[in-house]
């Protein structure tokens, strides 16, 4: 119990003194996971909408693959991304293994199916007649898609939160492709793992608390946007 108390005290201390190392780690976590979420939104929402609105052979198989992807284990993603990015691997010429960019790539792979799967469900649950109605009113296909996305705003913001929540809390891929390099690719989760194995439980708890606070504030902002207008 003392230990948890110590951890909370330490977290406050690190936050109010703006400890430069902890600030750097926190900002990096936010930047990396934010970027990964942003990229996964672009890919996930567009692909999700396309799959939801189109008919093609093997569609059910594609959808079940996407749904399975929502539970991709981060370590497996980390392993594959590492092997691809090895300097003697297929994408080695980029030379980006053990960089924040590599973490963004791995986290994008993790978040994209989550965003895609929720988008798919969100668009599919809209009444089919709505599409016809919008088109009948003279909208172009693109305008229709845009209206549908706006209509599915609530579940889509849930997709953002699920995607972001999935990657900011993930450790397996970050430690493998990022390498947990001090002052460079160390994020909140990998730092927590390291401090735990160093026996610095108070700092580990403090980092955990900072991670929770960060996730809470991001979700608070997203929830504000989501609940801005009450749905009809």
């Amino acid at each position: 119990m003392d230990l948890i108390f110590e951890g909370i005290k330490k977290a406050f201390w690190l936050l109010i003194t703006f400890d430069p190392e902890v600030m750097g780690i926190t900002l990096l976590s936010l930047g990396v996971s934010g970027s990964a979420t942003l990229i996964s939104l672009l890919i996930g929402i567009s692909t999700g909408v396309i799959v939801a609105l189109s008919e093609f052979p093997g569609r059910r198989i594609a959808i079940s693959l996407i749904n399975t992807g929502m539970g991709l284990p981060p370590v497996v993603v980390g392993l594959f991304v590492t092997i691809f990015l090895w300097r003697n691997g297929p994408l080695g010429f980029f030379g980006i293994l053990y960089t924040p960019t590599a973490i963004i790539i791995a986290q994008t792979v993790i978040a994209t199916p989550i965003v895609m799967g929720i988008t798919l469900a969100a668009i599919q649950q809209l009444p089919k007649k709505l599409r016809l109605q919008i088109l009948a009113l003279g909208a172009t296909r693109l305008q229709m898609v845009w209206i549908l996305i706006k209509e599915a705003r609530l579940p889509l913001l849930a997709a953002v939160m699920a995607g972001f929540g999935g990657v900011i809390s993930e450790v397996g891929a970050s430690i493998m492709v990022g390498g947990n390099i001090k002052g460079y690719s160390r994020v909140l989760t990998t730092a927590t793992v390291m401090e735990t194995s160093r026996g610095n439980f108070d700092i580990a708890i403090a980092l955990g608390i900072i991670l929770l606070l960060l996730a809470y504030f991001i979700n608070l902002i997203l929830t504000q946007i989501q609940q801005r207008e009450r749905p009809r």
Binding site: W86, I96, T99, I104, S197, R198, G199, Q224
Partner: protein, 301 residues
Amino acid sequence: MKRMIGTRIILWTIVSLFILMGSSTVLAQTKTVILSTTTSTQDSGLLDVLIPIFEKNTGYFVKTIAVGSGQAMAMGQKGEADVLLVHSQAAEKKIVAEGYGINRRIIMHNDFIIVGPSEDQAKIKGMKSASESFKKIASAKALFLSRGDNSGTHSKEKDIWKAAGINPEGGKWYQQTGLGMGQTLNVTAEKKGYTLTDRGTYLALKKNLGLDILVEGDAILLNIYHVIEVNPAKWPKVNAAGGKSFADFMVSKETQDIIRTFGVEKFGSPLFFPDAGKKEEELGSKRFLPLPLDGGGCGWG
């Protein structure tokens, strides 16, 4: 107003994205050295002291990848690291013999110790021979926690089992954690079992563990760290100059002096003993143990 919050967060994310991209390209331009090493050098905090000095002296950017010695050497063998700092004698000799590693040089040593609960149900406290104490643990079927991760510590543990003539695998009392040293010590403390650990990690974690040093001082328990450069002839993409520069730095007088005093302030005794230029055989015959410690006084700052 509310709309502004939404725009602001998107802006924020984009800005941080650009900062990130910017910083990673800048760093990609300066030459990087990938150091693949064991967890004990990182968990003890030694590298946090040494690496900034090396970076300042040479302008290289060091990417320290702290994994078990087994994985560290696999990375060297695949040309995914430039220089290795490891402590797994047999595997080191193999990697050099196969030509993947070159210029293996001794850096420092400390020792392994056998730790366990103060109740010591297998009654091994004070024994002089590590293998004899392993025999007693096995015959008492007392819980033993193994790293089980091909690390230097794990391969040392296997050596001791071999010397004891026992195959512990499969016994209910023998469990493998598959975790790093720090985590394994925590599991051992929780389960009141025995384990083999390097002294440095044990000292760093001691205050939360409640485990005692039971066996120490046997020659087989010597823990020697070597630096090995990855052979660029095998892997042309290896940063050979950077790897050599780091290896040279590790054996330099300045570094050796830092190693000699590292940890004295925190733990009352050094965690490693510098050995550059010595021969491995010299170490075995001499007294290599750290001085006995005073009980308390090892808090983290």
